[in-house]
């Protein structure tokens, strides 16, 4: 079963493509991302901390990109496992130019297992929608420079966090791994959970559960 959704991003598809496939950007835009490690071409390991109800927990996951059609579509294969359960998902992402910039669409197919599968689909959908929303807002802020403005105001430490990945090119620290002193505004942005694909996949339990029925 599919879970479909989308977002409007304020930059042209070419720019969006470059940002959304940039591990350094992903590491700091994925809500709850503690680390993202490139392990091969278009292949990453990551650690995501999720914090809602029985979905709460730290998930170790892998993400692989395939079928890349620059700059219009790619497929993300995500899997994750943690104490609350495991998720496996295939997400097709499409980019199309619009008057405002880019219409991003995603279509996910996922299987959820373990206790996390028992928390009810509205809760999982709600968590996934929220996480996807936070992720795309963070991406959009990257594209429009909003992050810089927010970060600039309160302290230099936030900027420091953002520039940290440059020190270690293959391992990208996520904002969730950041140390104290994040401003409340920034914390709000980062409050949610995991990577768009993996987290959306949690919500795609909808499909899993509907598939189980009858």
């Amino acid at each position: 079963m599919n879970l479909d959704g989308g977002a409007v991003l304020h930059a042209d598809p070419e720019k969006v493509w470059s940002v959304i496939t940039d591990p350094a950007v992903l590491a700091r835009t994925i809500p709850g991302c503690e680390s993202l490690e490139q392990v091969g071409d278009d292949s990453y390991k990551m650690q995501v901390s999720v914090g809602v109800g029985a979905i709460r927990g730290s998930y170790a996951g892998e993400v692989r990109l395939s079928d890349k059609e620059h700059p219009t579509s790619y497929v993300m294969h995500a899997s994750g496992a943690g104490a609350p359960g495991n998720v496996r998902a295939t997400v097709t992402i499409g980019l199309a130019p619009t008057g405002e910039g880019t219409a991003l669409t995603y279509s996910a197919d996922a299987v959820v297992g373990g206790p996390v599968a028992g928390v009810g689909q509205r809760m999982m959908t709600g968590v996934a929608k929220r996480m996807a929303g936070q992720f795309f807002k963070a991406i959009d802020d990257e594209l429009t420079g909003a992050v810089v403005r927010i970060a600039a105001a309160p302290s230099a430490e936030v900027r420091g966090v953002e520039t940290a990945p440059a020190e270690a090119p293959r391992v990208f620290a996520g904002n969730a791994a950041a140390q104290p002193s994040l401003s409340p505004d920034v914390q709000t942005v980062l409050l949610g959970v995991g990577i768009g694909g993996l987290l959306t996949a949690l919500g795609v339990a909808l499909g899993y559960l509907l598939g189980r029925r009858r």
């Binding site: 109800g53 206790p115 709600g126």
Partner: protein, 802 residues
């Protein structure tokens, strides 16, 4: 001799435990369990447009949220119609969680599981459900008008047309010397047990087994329902009714949505989950009863003898019919009471309304039936200028007419045949007990004090102990302890005492040695449930039969040991001995050890038993063919049909003509439930029933507004009688044994509530001279009635002060 306790007023053995805080109720179980709470519909009829959980996700401690979309397999199907009937042509039931449409305030829409109940409630508050409201049907008159419908596919709001008839009533009415017709109403009330419903579930993922505690009146059936709905094998599910703080009928309904959803969540989450119903939930989402509109036409001769009776009744069944048309059937069949009705017809239209479901509440259709019949008697008396007791006397079934076939079909599908009774005896005892012939003097005395006084009476016959069966298991252990179990449940009726009395008497053991367990499927798997005044009749007889089986086996083993004939033996104080020869015997506990040829000497009893063990016949198997190890026996009691108890109540009221406060100054009960196991328990049942009868007549109602909102869904707003409003009850017993069962007993659980509304309405009418045709009645309503120039007056018109 202390072992012959049957019939004695033995103090209830459970009371010390229950009154000193050592009861173990549902909420005492599972301190570490996750808590469930429910989002319930605030609308009486609406389509669900959206359920938005976004705002709830931030609540710390949230674990899970379930809606209809999470229900799979048989859980996604409508809840069962427990008791289908050919005349229930349009049965409808809800879903465990609403599937797109809600049809009464309180219908469950979402279930939240959280680390505790406070958090679960906080989450519920933050779940936003968007509804599209639909037209609402409240009350039988609106249901009949059918300007709106509760179910799209039931355009007339009628779920069932129930018919019982014994002849051509219209022809008989045309030929009657006199006829009269009237319409009257009864309002809703409810069981309202002190402890609401509750469910605790624990899933053992390794053992693949589920243990559920439920505050239920039918643990074996809850077990079967859970197994079926959650698609588990029956042997993997056990259900236990712990101490239950009252049921009064509402907990016989099963499976309640929560009884399925809580186990579902426990399995899904792999953690213990518990839900305890709160008071508001109980008011709006459990069940009510009683509301009916009754149109009665009666034909009678000039002596007041009824020749034909036609009752047309509209029964409010609420939004769904999970319990079928049991209440309409009971009303229709029990309406005839203790009287000869030559030609009778009852039609009951069971109507859907956008209110909580209607299922049996103590009395289950009988209070309304009694109200219809007894008020008919009052009207005949008024019309002919006869004494109300005399009219009843002339219509009673005579003692030599038993068994008396009313030519009707009862709720158990069996004929309404009164097995035994003495209704004249009841009436004579009642008039003496209440001082019926002295009422004129009492009235004069009251008037001298500026108060109105009136008397009323009501008689009833109550079908009790319907089948199909109950079972009992009795086992004597090597310790001498006697274990007794039966599958039906207890809600405070004193079963631990009454059943122990039966076993102590049948088996000849001290009651202290007897331990009774009820409602635990681990101990007894087959049962029907505790309702319809059936526990003593059904399980009482089954347990007696089981005890007799144990006795027979004990005597057989003892005969061998004592080298005596079994017929020469008796059991006294737990010792089998040759009759009249104390000191020669062998204790039951020793026989229990001897009954099992595998006799490892774990304890003293086993060591002692060896002195009695013979060498045995080496050519025979140690356990004979057809025999079994152990001193135990299981037996069942299955009656051919219900047994019919009876009774008569009379009440004297005084009314203050300034405030129209109605005070009960005397309440007399004559009660006949056949042989009594324990008269103290019977009287306790009568007292409780009378209290609920008084509540139903004067105080309790479910104040639904036209939008289907229950406006008094709390104990702040729901008026009930306190000790100050419940009169001292004087009781006289009459014992007419039932010929249908070994112990000769009839049920007693519901009796006390049945005649209250009828008798009190009659007394108020007698005091005021105004026709009372709608019950309950409050002082305000009585005030308005007294000032209504158009209010119907009785012919006798007694006692109106101005």
């Amino acid at each position: 001799m202390t072992t012959k306790l049957f019939g004695e007023p033995v103090r209830r053995r459970e009371d010390v435990r229950l009154t000193t805080g050592r009861g173990r109720y549902l909420d005492d179980i599972g301190h570490t369990a996750l808590a469930a709470a429910f989002v319930r519909s605030p609308h009486a009829h609406a389509r669900i447009v959206d359920i938005d959980v976004e705002a709830a996700l931030d609540v710390e401690g949230l674990v899970a949220i379930y809606t209809y979309e999470d229900l799979t397999g048989r859980m996604a199907e409508p809840l069962p119609v427990l008791i289908p009937h050919p005349q229930l042509h349009a049965p409808r039931t809800g879903y465990p969680l609403a599937n797109g449409v809600v049809r009464h305030v309180g219908e469950p829409v979402a279930m939240v599981v959280a680390t505790d109940r406070y958090i679960a409630e906080d989450v519920c508050d933050r779940i936003v459900v968007t509804y599209d409201e639909l037209p609402v049907v409240v009350g039988v008159d609106a249901a009949v008008a059918a300007a709106a419908t509760v179910h799209d596919d039931v355009p007339d709001n009628v779920s069932a047309h129930h018919l019982q008839e014994t002849g051509d009533v219209e022809a008989a009415l045309r030929g009657a010397e006199n006829t009269l017709s009237f319409t009257q109403y009864v309002e809703r009330s409810a069981s309202t047990p002190m402890e609401g419903k509750g469910v605790h579930a624990r899933w053992d993922a390794d053992d693949k087994s589920l243990r559920v505690y439920s505050s239920t009146q039918a643990s074996t059936s809850v077990r079967a329902a859970i197994a079926a709905k959650l698609e588990l094998s029956l042997d993997r599910v056990e259900v236990i009714a712990p101490d239950v703080g009252g049921g009064f009928g509402v907990k016989i309904v099963h499976p309640w949505p929560e009884e399925l959803l809580v186990p579902m969540a426990a399995i899904a989450l792999g953690q213990e989950v518990k839900w305890s119903e709160d008071r508001r939930e109980h008011f709006i989402s459990a069940a009510h009863e009683r509301q009916q509109k009754q149109e009665i036409t009666v034909g009678f001769d000039d002596d007041g003898r009824i020749t034909a009776l036609d009752a047309h009744i509209w029964h409010d069944n609420g939004a769904y019919t999970p319990y079928g048309i049991i209440i309409p059937i009971i009303t229709a069949t029990q309406l005839v009471g203790p009287y000869v009705i030559p030609v009778y017809r009852a039609r009951v239209e069971s109507m859907y309304t956008n209110t909580v479901i209607v299922t049996p509440y103590r009395g289950a259709g009988r209070p309304q039936a009694c109200y219809a019949m007894e008020r008919t008697m009052d009207r005949i008396a008024d019309k002919l200028g006869l004494d109300r007791a005399e009219v009843r006397r002339r219509n009673l079934i005579q003692p030599d007419q038993f068994p008396y076939d009313q030519q009707l079909i009862f709720q158990d599908g069996r004929p309404v045949i009164y097995d035994s009774g003495n209704y004249q005896g009841l009436l004579e005892k009642l008039t003496a007990l209440v001082g019926w012939d002295d009422v004129a003097g009492l009235r004069a005395d009251a008037e001298s004090r500026g108060r109105l006084l009136g008397a009323g009476m009501a008689l009833y016959v109550e079908g009790t102990g319907p089948g199909p069966y109950e079972g009992g298991h009795v086992q004597v252990l090597g310790s001498g302890k006697v274990l007794v179990s039966t599958g039906l449940t207890s809600q405070g009726q004193g079963h631990e005492t009454a059943f122990a009395q039966i076993v102590a008497t049948e088996l000849g053991v001290p009651i202290e040695d007897v331990e009774v367990t009820t409602g635990d499927t681990r101990r007894f798997g087959y049962a029907v449930g505790t309702f319809a005044s059936r526990a003593a009749v059904m399980s009482g007889n089954a347990i007696a039969l089981a005890a007799r089986g144990v006795r027979e086996k004990a005597l057989r083993i003892a005969a061998d040991v004592l080298e005596a004939d079994a017929t020469d033996l008796e059991i006294d104080e737990g010792v089998v001995q040759v009759k009249g020869t104390p000191g020669t015997g062998v204790p039951l506990r020793t026989l229990a050890v001897l009954s099992n040829p595998l006799r490892y000497a774990f304890d003293e009893a086993a060591q002692q038993a060896t002195q009695f063990a013979g060498p045995g016949d080496a050519s025979l198997p140690p356990v004979a063919v057809g025999d079994a190890p152990g001193l135990e026996h299981i037996d069942y009691y299955s009656p051919v049909r219900s047994t019919f108890a009876s009774g008569a109540h009379a009440v004297i009221v005084e009314i203050d003509p300034a405030t129209w406060e109605i005070e009960i100054v005397k309440y007399a009960v004559v009660h006949d439930c056949g042989t009594m196991i324990n008269p103290m328990i019977v009287e306790g049942q009568v007292h409780g029933g009378v209290a609920q009868g008084v509540g139903g007549a004067l105080y309790e109602r479910m104040a639904y507004d036209a939008d289907g909102q229950l406006q008094n869904a709390s104990f702040m707003d729901f008026l009930m009688p306190y000790a100050s409003e419940v009169p001292a009850v004087v009781i006289d017993h009459q014992v007419t044994k039932s010929p249908l069962n070994p112990l000769g007993i009839k049920g007693a659980g519901e009796a006390g509530v049945i005649p209250g509304t009828a008798a009190i309405a009659s007394a108020i009418e007698d005091a005021t001279g105004r026709r009372i045709a709608s019950m309950p009645i409050s002082p305000t309503e009585l005030y308005d009635l007294m000032r209504d120039e158009n209010a119907e007056r009785t012919a006798r018109g007694t006692g109106v002060l101005t």
